[in-house]
């Protein structure tokens, strides 16, 4: 169990919990979206932390691929959420 592995795994867990709390407590859509993204970054950090095998060995490439997929999925969802929010605001001004 490497020091770096455990440090970043715990950071990831912390971000996951922070993001979750923020998503539940924030009132504005923008705030919630930011919180969800932070939550996602936390899960990703957990994956990358367990992939790390120290300075001597190449890291485990599988979690890296998974996180790359996750980053793209996250941005797609963010874009859709923002578009929906914008449509909602436009309807309020009509």
């Amino acid at each position: 169990m490497l020091f770096a592995e455990i440090t970043y795994a715990l950071t990831g867990i912390g971000l996951f919990a922070l993001g979750l709390r923020g998503a539940l407590l924030r009132r504005s859509l923008l705030g919630r979206i930011i919180a969800i993204n932070v939550c996602g970054a936390g899960v990703f950090m957990l994956f990358v932390a367990i992939a790390y095998r120290g300075p001597g060995q190449a890291p485990d490439a599988l979690p890296h691929a998974l996180v790359l997929t996750g980053i793209v999925v996250a941005v797609s969802a963010t874009a859709l959420a923002l578009a929906l929010g914008r449509r909602l605001r436009d309807s309020d001004h009509e």
Binding site: F16, L29, I33, P63, T69, L84, S91
Partner: protein, 485 residues
Amino acid sequence: MNSLPVWPIMLPLGAALLAVIWPRRSAWIGIAAGLATLTAVGLLMAQVASRGTLVHALGGWEPGLGIALRADALAVALLLMSSLVALAAGWYATGYFRDADRQSQFWPIWLLMLAALHAMLLSADLFNIYVTLELLGLSAVALAALGGGRAAIEAALRYLTVGLLGSLAFLAGVAVIYARYGTLDMLTLAGLIEPEPASWLALALMTAGLLVKSALFPLHFWLPPAHANAPAPVSAALSALVVKAAVYLMMRLWLDLFAPALDPASAWLLGLLGAAAVLWGSWNALRAQRLKLLAAYSTVAQLGYLFIFFPLLAALPAGPARDTAFGALVLMALTHAFAKSALFLAAGMIQQQAGHDRIEELGGTARALPVTTFTLALAGVALIGLPPSGTFLAKWQLLSSAFALGQWLWVPVVAAGSLMAAGYMFRVLGFAFGPGDGAMQKLVDGREELPALLLAIVATAVLGLGAAALWAFVAPGALLMGAQR
């Protein structure tokens, strides 16, 4: 290498691409794809029935390094349900969207949703399931937002944000599994999972995510507005298929993959939440003023019944009793899918003709739309659980298992739920058969009522009378992956 499991996914996906490139032909592409997919599913079903579970290792790589598709009896039964309901709802949609642009926006996303659903049912890799969950969620949200009104957009947005949190919780669980067991392939994991904190945490996280997506009480709050405000064919798919996918995953995890790590008592939590869902959902359906809202609350209630099966299945030892109970669960899920989609399509028909779906002003519907009213009645039979519908047999089985195991709590809940279902369905029918003109316009095309009617007939008659065949097909697979040990 038998590549049959690939087609139910690739056919809708490829058709989605075509529908993007040729928007004016999108309806034709959609229906053709629906028929092709149904054919592929039928062939797959025939193969699984004769040769047993089919596995396809994508890319030719060993599962673990690569991803495997797995078609067993449960997956194939749900695939058939999905293809049939999607075809009927799609057929209805060709007449529902009067605006050509809306039609061309609808079809690509609809086909992507179908591909996602089939991909999830056939997937045997945990991370792949996460991706299919996201695809399903995003396409469902995009479809729900096609409703257009402020209520629809707001509901779609809530569905999206809540769904994203659920997916992330699921992904966190996947991370824990990979950290502990070093693989994501469900077939391999089936032999590895042990009762220890890592398994429990992973299951808890994944369950939390899936409970949000299957709208189990108290995480159901996003469902009624989303399903009630979406366009009718979309509501049908959302209630009948999309939420079922999450329940299917719960079944795979609790009754199959993680079963060796679980204490039967832990499933009681699911059962209790299910019971609360039945009561709360049915009560709100009774009080609903709008037909589509009633249908949405009814979905919350009916999903509750599915979760009540969990403590029963967890407590039963492997054997014919468990197989029968499992078959009942599948039967109930299938019947609900057909009945609820029929109800939503019928409600959509009424809404288009009358301009509204307020229950108390439905007078005269029976005269103006006799076929649709008949559909409502049939769907009602299947939702309440009257013979010969599949729901009747499933609830009967549920009650006998409860009696046999001494889990008495479920009996009054099921009884109360069924009574309330009778209450809200008869209320609707009462108004529909009542006097009034309901400001009905002349019916444009009688054929538009047909898909809903066919769905309702399947729910009420076909599934009930054909239940034995379904039982024989699904039940031997009740141990699914656990049999690999």
